[in-house]
């Protein structure tokens, strides 16, 4: 890139809806500076070797207009998870109170739009915002920081347990042109607080959309967050999201992401286990067909001794679908007695599909237990014949086996209600797939 050329997404005047205080202006500028220096990542950057954003850069995205709303009956809720939960709806990263259903919030829980907090109580978020995400090696997160306006703010007070899940539905809608938006979410669980937060990322297939989200999670000592994401946008959607979690002593961060929709999805999760006895689970599952592209990139950073972590990803690929798994475990010098596991398994249903797997262990301590594994396989012919020998036709047999393969990791979701919702989603996808794909 020449030095005079501006990287994409900065070329239009950007709406700044909140009055900027000094620190926020500085933070935005720091983000913009990084992004301008680094630009949109290309495959020449190691972390983006297998995911090419070239196609994205060619589309002329405009900043999503602030006034795009979607009528309640036009929301693509069928694509979202079906959950009995406190629901927040964001359209193009803007909180839409008209279609949200929060009811009376439990005591100790604050759930608001970030823009409101920035306006009313900026001091509340100042020490947290950008703490994890403003980094040279995350240029898109830096872009998000540079343009941050709205998103989700959750704060759960010390010792409070949330009975019901919090469900965040993020709807992408171009409105009248291809639109880019950059939601910024901040989740804080104080000491011993416990919550389940679920995100459904969906959209309307009217115009191409690009969601570049950043979620910063801070867990106090002994806190527990179950953080699940469904990535199910239409074929016109691009989603690049990074979730950064800081997990204190004895706290537990459990994440799961199911990617089944969208043209291109990158689900990046970085977990820092910063206190002894911290536990991180980063799981995921994906299913791609047609020309879909899914990238799961994980970094678990064992910064202190006696923390534990596991990663399990399973995916199914059909058509000319492409998947990327980059999983890294970093065990720092002092992180003795670390226990870290990682496994990625992909099932290829067609010859045109492609999987790129890069597992990495970077270990500087000497007393650790780490394992990693990766397999790429085809459908097991013996299993298929066994089912067919019982009268089950080939399509149904394949569906059973694919579902079993994907569901295996879905079963690891420890919140039972959410687990069931994800299983239903896998089965919906499977039913749709039988109609759409196997008739090709």
């Amino acid at each position: 890139m020449s030095t005079t050329e501006m990287p994409p997404f900065l070329d239009a005047a950007l709406p700044v809806p909140v009055e900027e205080t000094g620190w926020l202006a500085d933070l935005r500028q720091a983000g913009l500076d990084i992004y301008k220096r680094k630009g949109l990542p290309t495959p020449k950057v190691e972390a983006w070797k297998y995911t090419n954003l070239g196609g994205l850069a060619k589309t002329e995205f405009k900043p999503a207009a602030l006034d795009v709303t979607v009528a309640a009956d036009k929301l693509p809720l069928a694509a979202a998870l079906s959950l009995d939960a406190l629901a927040l709806v964001f359209v193009n990263g803007r909180f839409d109170p008209a279609v949200s259903d929060l009811g009376a919030l439990p005591k100790g829980l604050r759930v608001e739009s970030l823009s409101k907090v920035l306006q009313a109580e900026p001091a509340l978020v100042e020490p947290l915002l950008g703490k994890l995400a403003t980094r040279e090696d995350l240029p898109l997160a830096a872009l998000n920081t540079g343009l941050l306006t709205d998103g989700l703010f959750v704060r759960l007070a010390k010792g409070v347990t949330l009975d019901k899940a919090l469900h965040v539905v993020s709807v992408a809608s171009g409105g009248s042109s291809a639109a880019a938006f950059h939601p910024r979410n901040l989740i804080v669980l104080e000491e011993g607080a416990k919550a389940t937060i679920v995100e459904s990322h969906v959209g309307l297939p009217d115009f191409p959309t690009f969601e570049n989200s950043v979620t910063e999670v801070t867990l106090g000592e002994g806190a527990e967050l179950k953080h699940y994401r469904l990535l199910n946008g239409p074929d016109t959607s691009y989603h690049v999201g990074v979730t950064l979690a800081d997990v204190a002593a004895k706290a537990r961060y459990e994440s799961f992401a199911l990617a089944i929709g969208g043209a291109l999805t990158r689900n990046e999760v970085r977990v820092v286990l910063s206190g002894e006895g911290a536990h991180g689970v980063v799981n995921g599952s994906y299913a791609v067909h047609g020309g879909q592209h899914v990238d799961n990139t994980v970094l678990v950073d064992h910064a202190v001794p006696r923390a534990t972590s596991s990663q399990l990803f399973k995916g199914v690929l059909d058509g000319t679908g492409k998947a990327v798994f980059q999983g890294k475990v970093l065990v720092r010098r002092d992180a003795q007695e670390t226990d870290a596991q990682q496994l990625h398994k992909a099932l290829l249903l067609s010859r045109g599909a492609e999987v790129d797997t890069k597992p990495e262990l970077e270990i500087y301590a000497d007393d650790v237990k780490c394992s990693h594994g990766a397999t790429v396989g085809e459908m097991d012919a013996e299993q298929l014949f066994y089912l067919m020998a019982r009268g089950i036709d080939e399509e149904t047999a394949l569906a059973l086996l694919v579902e079993a393969f994907v569901e295996d990791v879905v079963h690891e979701i420890s919140d039972e209600v959410v687990r069931e919702a994800f299983i239903r989603k896998v089965r919906d996808w499977q039913t749709g797939r039988e109609k759409a794909v196997w008739s090709e």
Binding site: Y386, L387, A389, R390, G391, E394, T396, L400
Partner: protein, 251 residues
Amino acid sequence: MALLAIKDLRARVEEKEILKGLSLTINPGEVHAIMGPNGAGKSTLSSVITGKPGYEITEGSVLFEGKDLAELAANERACEGIFLAFQYPVEIPGVNYTTFLKTAINAKRKYFGEEEIDAMEFLKLMKSKIKLLKIADDMMKRPVNVGFSGGEKKRADVLQMAMLDPKLMILDEMDSGLDIDALRIAADGVNTLRSPDKAILCITHYQRLLDYVVPDFVHVLAGGRIVKSGGKELALELEEKGYTEFENAAA
């Protein structure tokens, strides 16, 4: 009409001819045993009848109730009433046993244009068969064959047989991997399913299974053909003398 009529069957797998002109007729109610040395083509025969991919009929015919099996896919053959009890039942992680059974029953119903089985009716049927075959309930809650012992796997196959109510039951080396008690339990299960309108084709290397599932006819398969047929006493004779005579004959 014969239930199964195999005539001058020649079949190959991966370009190698294994069956070289095999003929066999099985009528309803009969129990046939196919015995023979390793490599004679016993498992190939069961694979060809059940339609396992990779096994190709080059000459001759296999008719099931007059229908040409070469024109039916494996699942269609199963729906028509052919059941293979596998030598090594396959483990299928993630597929719940009950879901699997119900899917299989509904597949057969759909094949004949019938309604899906009602959930209560299915449970009743399953419970009655579980009781009949003395199977532990908790097996049904597990993934198909995962973590089952050798004996449990065979019993689970027999349960599927009971649920699907086939006309021809093919037992492929049922005694593989079973101790004598497990073998007796599995064989007892098969015997409870015997009836005048069903036939059994028992494929085995050893005679011991035939003490429990007693055949009407015993055939010796060697070199891809049936080289000798007789009554149940032939099995005892083979046990005593071995297959050397036939191996030489076939060569």
